[in-house]
């Protein structure tokens, strides 16, 4: 009885000692989501996310321009080596596995998609930048819309408008009576769910990673800078800090994996639109 009371008092003291990070109130409270994700405009209309997007485009262009100007007859090194590794990765691990040999013409497009998404993801773990551009819905949404247009246009170009929509809406090998069920499902899953899930997958993954990093950073900050009970709270604060470093390493993996999945799904959709199902 006495022990629980003492423990309660201690607990109350400890929670009162935490630095509130936003607003008043006891303990640790999470800041408003807009203060994490909405950045002030540097120039009217241009904020951090847009700068990251522009830089991602420029880095990709410059890397491949520099690589293209190197002498191709010798063993590659430096920028050309990096560029060749990326192109080989796209061709071998993404296109050959999903579209086969006939899809190799799509290498430049998929290369652009992969590089842009990856370079937009990676600032989420770079210190002092710490913002994945894809954690704002605008970037993945327009990527997904563009890919929606591209795979539908590819299907119409290769199979003709009638053949493409017939293949999508009336998949062969289904009993005639079931088309009442299958056609609406196929229409929604191809035309609505595909771009939606493509965008939301990338967006939610990067936002979740960003929020996770923010939570553990704020937690270790409020524990390490506590005003009372410093003897207890500072050693405890080391734990979330260690997890923060581990999560930062984990986010590198997530950034790569999401760019990879985004590109693989793009390749699958384009490949499916190019060759009708049998």
């Amino acid at each position: 009885m006495l022990l629980t009371q003492i423990a309660n008092q201690k607990f109350a003291q400890i929670t009162a000692g935490l630095v509130p990070s936003a607003g008043e109130g006891r303990g640790f409270s999470f800041p408003e989501i807009n203060s994490i994700l909405r950045w002030k405009d540097v120039v009217p209309g241009i904020n951090k996310v847009i700068i990251i997007g522009i830089l991602a485009t420029l880095i990709g262009i410059v890397l491949f321009l520099v690589a293209a100007m190197k002498d191709g007859s010798k063993a590659p090194k430096g920028a050309r080596n990096l560029a060749e590794v990326i192109v080989e990765f796209i061709e071998k691990n993404i296109i050959m596995e999903t579209m086969g040999k006939s899809g190799l013409g799509w290498t430049p497009f998929l290369l652009c998609v992969f590089l842009f998404v990856y370079i937009c993801n990676i600032p989420g773990i770079i210190p002092f930048i710490q913002m994945p551009a894809t954690a704002r819905m605008g970037v993945p949404m327009f990527m997904a819309l563009m890919i929606w247009v591209v795979f539908n246009a590819t299907g119409i170009k290769h199979q003709g408008a009638l053949g493409y929509f017939k293949g999508v809406l009336f998949p062969p090998g289904v009993p005639k009576a079931l088309y009442i069920l299958v056609t609406p499902i196929e229409l929604i899953s191809t035309m609505v769910v595909r771009p939606f899930s493509l965008a939301v997958r990338l967006f939610a993954n990067m936002l979740a990673g960003h929020l996770l990093l923010v939570i553990f950073a704020l937690l270790s900050q409020s524990l390490i800078q506590a005003e009372t009970m410093r003897v207890f709270l500072i050693p405890i604060g080391v734990l979330p800090f260690g997890l923060l470093i581990f999560l930062t390493a984990f986010e590198i993996l997530v950034a790569f994996l999401q760019a990879y999945i985004f590109t693989v799904l793009t390749a699958v959709y384009i490949g499916g639109a190019t060759h009708p199902e049998h």
């Binding site: 309660n8 408003e32 691990n93 596995e97 939301v200 997958r201 939610a204 936002l207 693989v264």
Partner: protein, 96 residues
Amino acid sequence: MEALTRIAHVSARVAAELTPAELKANSAAQMAGLAYGLAAIGPGIGIGMIFGKAIEAMARQPESAGMVRTTMFLGVAFTEALALIGFVAFILLKFA
């Protein structure tokens, strides 16, 4: 026991002092946690099964590892989307 009843009294007093808007925000926050927790159950089981089966396939037939890996990531992407939609529901409930 004494301590527990005291905590119950304190929380009852806190609940009585809240305005309706705050109460609504509170319940939305609780439901947000519940929503994400429920949304993570199915995909968690599903992703576990996908990875387990993929490892089994790779162990049985190591030469098909590349194809299995690509297909595995596709399956994971589709399954994970459900959990992520749950996460978006969490964000909408908690912050919107």
